[in-house]
Symmetry: C2
Subunit: 307 residues, 2 copies
Amino acid sequence: MQELIIHEVGPRDGLQVEKQPVPFEHKVAWVESLGAAGVDIIQLGSFVNPEKVPQMADTDRLFAHFSAPGKRPGKAVLSGLVLNERGLERGMACGVEMFCMGVSASETHSRKNTGMSPHEALARIIPMATQAMAAGKKVQVSVQSAFGCGFEGPIPTDRVLGLVKQYLAAGVSAISLADTAGHANPMQVEELFGAIRALDPNVEMTAHFHNTYGLGLANCWAALRSGVRSLESAFGGLGGCPFTKQPAGNVSTEDLVHSLQRMGLRRDIDLGKLLEVARAVGAFFGRELPGFVLKSGSIVDYKPAGN
Amino acid sequence: MQELIIHEVGPRDGLQVEKQPVPFEHKVAWVESLGAAGVDIIQLGSFVNPEKVPQMADTDRLFAHFSAPGKRPGKAVLSGLVLNERGLERGMACGVEMFCMGVSASETHSRKNTGMSPHEALARIIPMATQAMAAGKKVQVSVQSAFGCGFEGPIPTDRVLGLVKQYLAAGVSAISLADTAGHANPMQVEELFGAIRALDPNVEMTAHFHNTYGLGLANCWAALRSGVRSLESAFGGLGGCPFTKQPAGNVSTEDLVHSLQRMGLRRDIDLGKLLEVARAVGAFFGRELPGFVLKSGSIVDYKPAGN
């Protein structure tokens, strides 16, 4: 079984729905701990209009901070989400190493999220991806709402694969399927990623799940079995897209790493540190976060406890 | 993909840890609804000392009620948990149709739960199983703490398979592995059930998971992939063995059925009725139960909701 890449999206997808502004210094401390824990990629923020999403207003400053010499959090690659050309320009200027960008497979979700149809969004994303790759940046493109949409219901597989084919034709080989609404089930995950692998066995496949119906880790396991090499997750299980119906948290990074380590994978990551971050985030917001291991405690290295 | 049997253990494993006594009439109403929903087997209770577990004191009365002519809840088979010869005798007298009995693979858990070592417990269980089968009863034997123990840590696979072999040698072909402490991971689930199938491809395999670390449904999916034909779950995700360390709820029946129906399986079960039962149980105890679909709502038959 391959060793999965952990892409921590807590600072972006975890925080973007939170109304209480997180001070820059807190974000820096959390990201430093995530880096020290050994996650592979950290998504520091998204380049959106700060008036629309004030929580993301310090994204440029975070990249400037962490891309300065000697400031890298552990060995983590710094990823950022961009939605348009303006965002790409900002990201190029402040030190983004990996650009994430995507198109929703749901017409309704796409319009709510970006004001464009999937077709229009794709026509803008492809040149942005090409431009970022030409500048030597890592680029990952995604299909959002790939497994279903709270507004539109089931999303036809062909529509998802159609977008994937256009990504591949444009020369992007890192592709993420995002389960924005949490609708995915393990059988569907295996089918959809299997279909992508059938298109091109060299695609670097990433999955992004939300735990709306309790299937987050089940879908991660199905993805792992299907050849997915990277998973996106958020500290504490925080998060949820504000433009979907029935938003719910991301798969929790601690729960994901805990389950991998129970299977003997990614034992190099410091789970204790991940739990510290999640506890700090929970303390900041003053509420219990959805993660399971936060409540139950780790049993990765459990010792007989006496009777 | 085979269609799984749903064995509802809420009235037993779900309620046994609850201090607030549930009146007989409430249990009857909940079981009637579970039957109407179409679950296949309902575990009405356990035959334990009522002084030790007052919540189970009306088990004999429940069996007498539901085994009377015309009283069967839907098409459900009536199962009961027995721990010793006295329990078997009581069960024989009141209408149990399927006897569940087991041995813990953990020495410590076994002693806390039954006062016996696994070896001693097995020596008592085998004759009980033989006697019940000779009386024409369905018998399912289990290995508890099969995937790990909060007291002892990992449980060697050979110890679990050793118990399974002795069950098979005694002629019992319905075997359950119970993840009493919630330690199972999907890789282990596939390995362990795969090893049992390699011993005897005709074993009727059942799995029983707790959601302590968020892996309940992931383990169910792994079990389904491994040829398991029956899953045990509890309404609302209630439950937890009082004699384990760090008890946590069973896999929620509604969440399990919801995920199966999303995969096109068991569409014959009335998920709305299962949700009604879980809501009624939550209202009785006056708290939010762990189930996800209870909070998020079903998307099995979701319609585009307008924008």
